[in-house]
């Protein structure tokens, strides 16, 4: 139990001054300091003191001395004096004040940082492509089997989710369009519509979004963890180029598997259309397949292939960029992963819009 009283300009504290009691003592003492002229603090009746108690004494001294007079702590036994000596904060330098950054300065800094980050991204992309091309002819600095491992991780293991989403999207697209087309007696055109949509837009875009969410996050978190645990530094001091060793196999693998995934997505998406055409619009399977193939020209396939490859590169480069930029520990890895996914998807959609404008 602690007590606070005032006697002849002296603040008298008694009982325990520990982290369990300082809250009440502090509130009481501050009231006394505000309403009385305090010159001394008497602790002769204090029975227990810890670092919170010493912090309280320091704070009370500071508050009381702010009124002008020097405050003395009286009545400390040898034991208490020794605890005060160890834990007193009065002799410590004052904490540095943090300078506030102005609004326009902050905007300027953000702009400069954005430009710097963009140049770093470009340098990373150019170096990665350079080493990817070199890596095609020189396999020495890649881990054995890394291409197949990456192809499996980025491609094969993504098949089930690509298949599931593609068939659902193909089914929904066909259902929504089929209802409208049947009203005009144009149900037969569903095959044309779905074929063009899946080949030129939905196949590459849908697959890229799935790959960005699934594989892009895996790339960012893997590289970020390697950075945080100094694995990339270890590669560097072993005279191995981390880009060549870690990123290039991913670029090679995704360049090969992404068009395959897109082709797979298109075929499965068309299957969703078949269900509606045959089941709801009474089209024959042969008729649907013939129309779907006839409507596609080489240019559509080339655009689809180019798009999927560009999307794949963007996902790997952005994932690697955020992985390499990571700062801090576990939280940094999480942030890098999130930023990678968000920005990959944004970049993929933006690029898709540009492709659509260029090749109508």
């Amino acid at each position: 139990m602690s007590k606070v009283s005032v006697s002849d300009s002296t603040l008298v504290l008694s009982g325990e001054l520990t982290n369990k009691t300082t809250y009440l003592v502090y509130t009481e003492s501050v009231k006394h300091i505000k309403s009385n002229e305090i010159r001394n603090i008497d602790i002769s009746e204090v029975t227990a003191l810890d670092s919170a108690g010493v912090a309280l004494l320091d704070e009370l001294q500071s508050l009381a001395s702010a009124k002008g007079s020097l405050i003395m702590v009286l009545g400390a036994s040898q034991e208490l004096a020794s605890i005060i000596e160890t834990f007193s904060s009065l002799s410590l330098p004052l904490p540095e004040s943090v300078t506030k950054v102005g609004f326009f300065e902050r905007i300027g800094n953000e702009g400069i940082n954005a430009w710097k980050n963009f140049t770093i991204l470009l340098i990373l992309a150019s170096e990665s492509f350079y080493w990817s091309i070199v890596g095609i002819f020189d396999h020495r600095s890649a881990r054995k089997g890394s291409f197949y491992a990456q192809a499996f991780q980025l491609g094969t293991s993504a098949l089930p989710i690509v298949a599931l989403l593609s068939i659902v999207i193909g089914f929904i697209l066909s259902l929504q369009s089929g209802v409208q087309l049947r009203n005009y007696g144009a149900g037969v055109f569903l095959a044309d519509l779905l074929s063009i949509t899946m080949v030129r837009e939905m196949g590459p875009l849908l697959t890229a979004i799935i790959v960005a969410g699934r594989s892009g996050s895996a790339i960012a978190s893997e590289i970020a963890t390697m950075k945080v645990t100094e694995e990339l530094d270890a590669l560097q001091v072993m005279a191995l180029n981390p880009l060549r060793y870690v990123i290039v196999p991913k670029l090679h693998a995704i360049t090969v598997v992404m068009p395959m995934l897109v082709a797979f997505s298109i075929l499965i998406g068309m299957l969703g259309g078949v269900i509606i055409s045959v089941g709801y619009l009474d089209l024959s399977l042969a008729n649907f397949v013939n129309r779907a193939i006839d409507v596609i020209v080489i240019k559509d396939l080339v655009i689809s292939f180019v798009k999927s490859t560009v999307f794949a590169w963007v996902i790997v480069i952005i994932g690697s960029y955020y992985g390499l930029q990571v700062r801090g520990g576990a939280e940094g890895v999480g942030k890098a992963t999130t930023m990678s996914v968000v920005n990959s998807i944004f970049a993929v959609i933006l690029l898709d819009a540009i492709f659509s404008l260029l090749y109508l």
Binding site: N19, Y23, Y26, D50, A52, A55, T86, E331
Partner: protein, 247 residues
């Protein structure tokens, strides 16, 4: 309370799968003493600490804190005991997303009603004690390994705990800082009657601070007693430990 056991374990057995790490360890950590736990790598020192702190569940045996059996104690009750304990992990275990100040003020904010003005003073004092006054607003990722460990020690002692458990406090520190930490440990022991459990290999540190040695070997308790008793025990492993470390 002199010479009473703050923590005592009885026939403590710890296993990872089929592998037995601790084989029936019965040990007492005495009040207001610096209890040093030592032994070769992989002998079970860290596992012993983790089982005592219930970070891992013992396979069998019992652990008592201040005479209270904690092995099957409910979490709320055990948290009441943990509030009297400060722990310094081997790698510091600071939270990377918040500043050093915030890391150290967590126990004060969560377990006490100390006024915010005092919290800042307490944190600054504790950082000054470990020689890190300048690092108060830095993030842990901006600290070196040794600085992280010192900041973590400041966090461990922020509530002036009755018991401080340190897993290799001086590993990775320069000799001067290590000696300074030893002085701090002794200071805390004398002035706040703290009990210390220190896992360390540093012979210089052991000579400076140890009141009692607990020597583990291959998961078994080989010896517990004072430094002088350990040196005159004629136990081969202990003799080897002290002779190899001489320089």
């Amino acid at each position: 309370m002199k010479d009473e056991a703050v923590i005592s374990t009885t026939d403590l057995v710890a296993k990872y799968g089929e592998q037995t790490i601790l084989e029936g360890v019965s040990v007492d950590f005495l009040h207001n003493k610096v209890n040093v736990v030592l032994g070769g790598s992989g002998c079970g020192k860290t596992t012993l600490m983790r089982n005592i702190l219930r970070l891992e569940q013992p396979f069998s045996g019992s652990v008592r804190f201040w005479g209270e059996e904690v092995t099957d104690m409910d979490e709320k009750e055990f948290n009441r005991i943990l509030k009297r304990v400060g722990v310094l992990f081997q790698n510091g275990a600071l939270m990377n997303s918040i500043s050093v100040f915030e890391n150290i003020s967590i126990p004060l904010e969560q377990h006490t009603r100390v006024a915010p003005a005092l919290i800042e003073r307490i944190v600054r004092t504790k950082l000054s004690l470990v020689g890190l006054d300048h690092a108060i607003h830095l993030l842990p990722s901006e600290l070196s390994g040794g600085m992280k460990k010192r900041a973590a020690l400041a966090r461990a002692i922020v509530l002036d705990p009755d018991l401080l458990i340190c897993d290799e406090p001086s590993a990775g520190l320069d000799p001067e800082t290590s000696a300074h930490l030893d002085e701090l440990i002794l200071d805390l022991k004398h002035k706040l009657n703290m009990t210390m459990i220190i896992v360390t290999h540093e012979l210089a540190s052991i000579h400076r601070i140890a009141d009692r040695l607990i020597f583990l070997d291959s998961g078994k308790l080989l010896f517990q007693g004072t430094l002088a008793e350990a040196k005159s025990s004629n136990i081969e492993q202990i003799d080897r430990f002290f002779s190899v470390g001489k320089f």
